[in-house]
Amino acid sequence: MVMKRVKESIIVVLSWLCSLLLAGSVATIIGYLLFKGLATINLALIFGDTAPLEAIFLGRQVFNGLLPAMVGTLALVLLALIFAIPLGVAAGIYMAEYGKGRLKGWFSLFFDILASIPSIVVGLFGFSVAVFLHHNLSERIYPCLLIAALSLAFLVLPYIIRTTQVALESIPVTIRQTAPALGATKLQNISHVLLPHALSAMMSGIVLAMGRCAEDTAVIMLTGVVASAGMPRSIFAGFEALPFYIYYISAQYSDSRELASGYGAAIILLIICIMLFGLAFYIKARFELTFTARSGDKRRISQRIMKAPDRRKKSLKVNFQTEQSGQGTLL
């Protein structure tokens, strides 16, 4: 027994150590970044030598500032989502509501594979397609904002499909059957009840996809990001982006001022990504609240369990569990 106690204490200590180590390393990374970069965060970091108001309202060019990279990232994210959302949501609806049998199995396998392909391979694909089209279709096609956005869209497509699918599939049967029982067609059920119900869960998937787009470097590195381009103006041109800027600076800063701007850019990108992820979790948390409220809040459900005659207890409890685990798989 003593041996056992000792063993147990060792496990406890080790697990605390692991956590501390992990937390410590993250704290070190963030702390280092803030320590080095916080001082550089100011308007000049973003707007360079140009006056902020002129840059924003008069479209004056910004040199030595992060604005073009930030706007480039923004444009990239928006454009990528414009492609990915309709396609992904439609495919997700298909998977949840129409797909069956073997076809659904194949699709599901393909989406899983797509989700797992390294981003640089997606980038390589985008690049090769651009070059291929340049040779065979039009001289005007070359790696550019459009190609980068399309490649990113492929990268985040499986996320959107999956969250849509899971969001729809985890709607409880009671809600799923409400509208059909009132004479709704399948399509009416989807558009009037299921989609509105799943919307917030889908939103959190979309926000996560946004984070992915904002963060990814490998794809855009091959598909049209450039070191210097100014504010993005055309989707058929090269563009700047924050993550690439950070990479570029880390590789070839020429003086300490440039390096410092790299730290600044890293902090800004970090803040953007954290805000996006925070948003996703906020949406998800709200979704969980309304979700449980919709299917009868927890108290009511437990009362139901208590009131119900013996045999039923089990099944009700099980239902409740599966409802919850449905949410668990979301993120």
Partner: protein, 234 residues
């Protein structure tokens, strides 16, 4: 008494689990028919067979024939599993109420008006009028008339159940299927709904599943017992 619904040789299975074996039954018009039986015997399933709601569940199997004598068809019954007969029109004539109230997450008004929206009825005044009538019939009008725009989810359990009844009534269904309509309610709310059922009897044919034998005694005209996949009249 005229027959409203006839089940002939119905067999049904979930996957390879047989729930009914060749059951036959007739439910009379403007009557309240109660279905009783132990848990898990398929009472809820039986109801979903009458409005075809089981069709969305994968790996289900049905054999047999169900006829419903719908109004305005000169006494010829409608085979509801006729492939030319769409499920949604059937379900507008055969309303259903679930064991747990299931209002949609929208306002009280929009909940009740929802079936009209599905049917494509847009005339504002007509809708207003129908909503009001349905809520009156469900004995809910007084309690909610000042807060029609509130979210339906904040209503109490009994109110929600009556809301769902109003929602089912607004399409003027000929048949109403009720799955343990009072199981989640306290005894007072329960009374209100029982009374409501007795008045509804005038307009529609009611088939209801119930656990509570005293309730069945109070309201039902005929009672069927479901056990071991067989349905017998008692």
């Amino acid at each position: 008494m005229k027959t409203k619904i006839r089940l002939s040789d119905i067999s049904f299975s979930y996957g390879n689990k047989l729930i009914f074996k060749q059951i036959n039954a007739e439910f009379a018009e403007h009557c309240i028919t109660a279905i009783v039986g132990p848990s898990g015997q398929g009472k809820s399933t039986l109801l979903t067979i009458i409005n075809r709601l089981w069709e969305d569940i994968p790996a289900t199997n049905l054999h047999g024939k169900i006829e419903v004598w719908l109004n305005g068809t000169n006494g010829t019954p409608q085979d509801i599993y006729d492939s030319a007969y769409p499920a949604d029109s059937l379900r507008r004539k055969v309303g259903m109420l679930f064991q747990t109230p299931n209002p949609l997450p929208m306002s009280i008004y929009r909940n009740v008006a929802f079936p009209l929206k599905l049917a494509g009825i847009k005339d504002r005044e007509l809708v207003d009028h129908k909503v009001k009538t349905a809520l009156r019939q469900a004995f809910l009008w007084k309690e909610v008339k000042d807060r029609l725009d509130d979210n339906a989810l904040i209503l109490s359990g009994g109110q929600q159940q009556r809301l769902c009844i109003a929602r089912a009534l607004i399409m003027e269904p000929e048949v109403l299927l009720l799955d343990e309509p009072t199981s989640s309610l306290d005894s007072r709310a329960c009374k209100v709904i029982e009374e409501l059922l007795l008045t509804l009897q005038q307009q529609c044919t009611i088939v209801m599943v119930s656990h509570y034998l005293d309730q069945v005694k109070r309201v039902a005209d005929t009672t069927w017992q479901l056990e071991d996949g067989r349905l017998t009249r008692i």
